[in-house]
């Protein structure tokens, strides 16, 4: 199934598109690619903002709860890193 997304080319969007196409003329006839890259960039930014705000913003309903779900995972539960899971150095370390 194909989901179609209709975008109104406002003056502001048009200006951005013209600038993008001036820098990357090969994208000019690829509206789908432009939207895809734009959405991906926005998603990355949202995820980074969420990471930066993690712990700084807590809604009133969530105060006191041990774990809070955020866009990047579960806050309040320590995320084990690879270092946490293997306390002892790997035997290969001595061969560096």
């Amino acid at each position: 199934m194909t989901n179609r997304l209709y975008v109104h080319r406002t003056q502001a969007l048009e200006a951005l598109l013209q600038e993008l196409w001036r820098l990357r003329p090969e994208l000019k006839d690829k509206a789908a690619m432009t939207v895809y890259m734009g959405t991906a960039a926005l998603l990355r930014e949202v995820k980074l903002s969420a990471a930066a705000m993690n712990g700084a913003v807590v809604s009133s309903g969530q105060v006191g709860k041990p774990a809070v779900e955020t866009l990047i995972g579960v806050k309040g539960v320590a995320m084990p890193s690879s270092m946490d899971l293997s306390c002892e150095p790997h035997p290969n370390e001595q061969w560096d």
Partner: protein, 342 residues
Amino acid sequence: MRLEIYLDRGNGSSKILPIVEGEKRATFKIPSVTRKMEPFQDGIMFLKSGQVYLCGEPAIKTFLGTRYTPLDNNDKIRELAVVVAAALIEIFPGGGPVELSLGISSPIFHQGIEREIIKELSKLETGFRYEGRDYVVLLERVGAFQEGVIFLDLNPAFNGVIDLGQGTLLAGFRHPEEGVKTLPLSDGNRGGCNLIISSLLSDDRFLKAVKSAGFSAAPCPDKLSSLLSNGRWQFKEIDFRNFLKPYMKVPKQRLENAVQAIKTELKNASPYEDIVPRIAFIGGGSSLIRCVGGDAAERWCERHHLELLKDSPDYQTVYQMYAASQLDPSRLMRVSARAEAA
């Protein structure tokens, strides 16, 4: 940044030649081993899928995740995107947008292999994140090249080539009418230096020396392969060369068989001419044989019409891919054009 990478994904290590904004940079190697981790663990995170991987030394130094090397099933395309991501991290440690063109070698070379490579590399679309730094990748051009045998394309003085790698032994020859051809070898697959490495790691004499030198364990095969590939022969009183010597018989026997197969093909191609074989001996295995065997190995090669290349024999495939692309830029095809053709 505009980047071209020529990548020879070996079973042991991947050899990489980067061209940044048209400028040739120094070659480097990354161990080819990868590990698929849990989503919350550290590593290279593909933003498209959320999957996390380790590649190279970090993958060697952990017990976590699902390990993979091309030696497992002779598939050098699987998890290629992870190796490319690790190469991008090495080239651009600060992250950023990359317009990427890629030349990839493959031991199994066939029509349409670029499509398989592009499918694997689609994991890089929308980018990846490593240690808080973001990489945005736009794949522009991809080309596939015959691993090892490509050497003959641009070196007319040779009529044969043997590429001894970590896991495979590849051979090719120059047919007077039909040009460069790959030669199937009956003991090619898994016929590389992995045989020597597994033998060494189960050698009592070597294990005893490891213990006497104060190590708690021998290096794992991935680590040992990486050390040998980078020319690290000596650790404390252990010199790998002394322990490797007794195991050189097996690769030598396989090389002799490969030389014989090339000679037969050359003879069959020109039955009424006396063709003198001139076989280039390339790949990491050729360095290993020279370093372990010394002058005796050089004389042995001479007797078998094998010419050891003095200049970076293990990087020959990436150099040749680069040279071939310089001569004919269409060897790297536009990804969008391929997708439209498909």
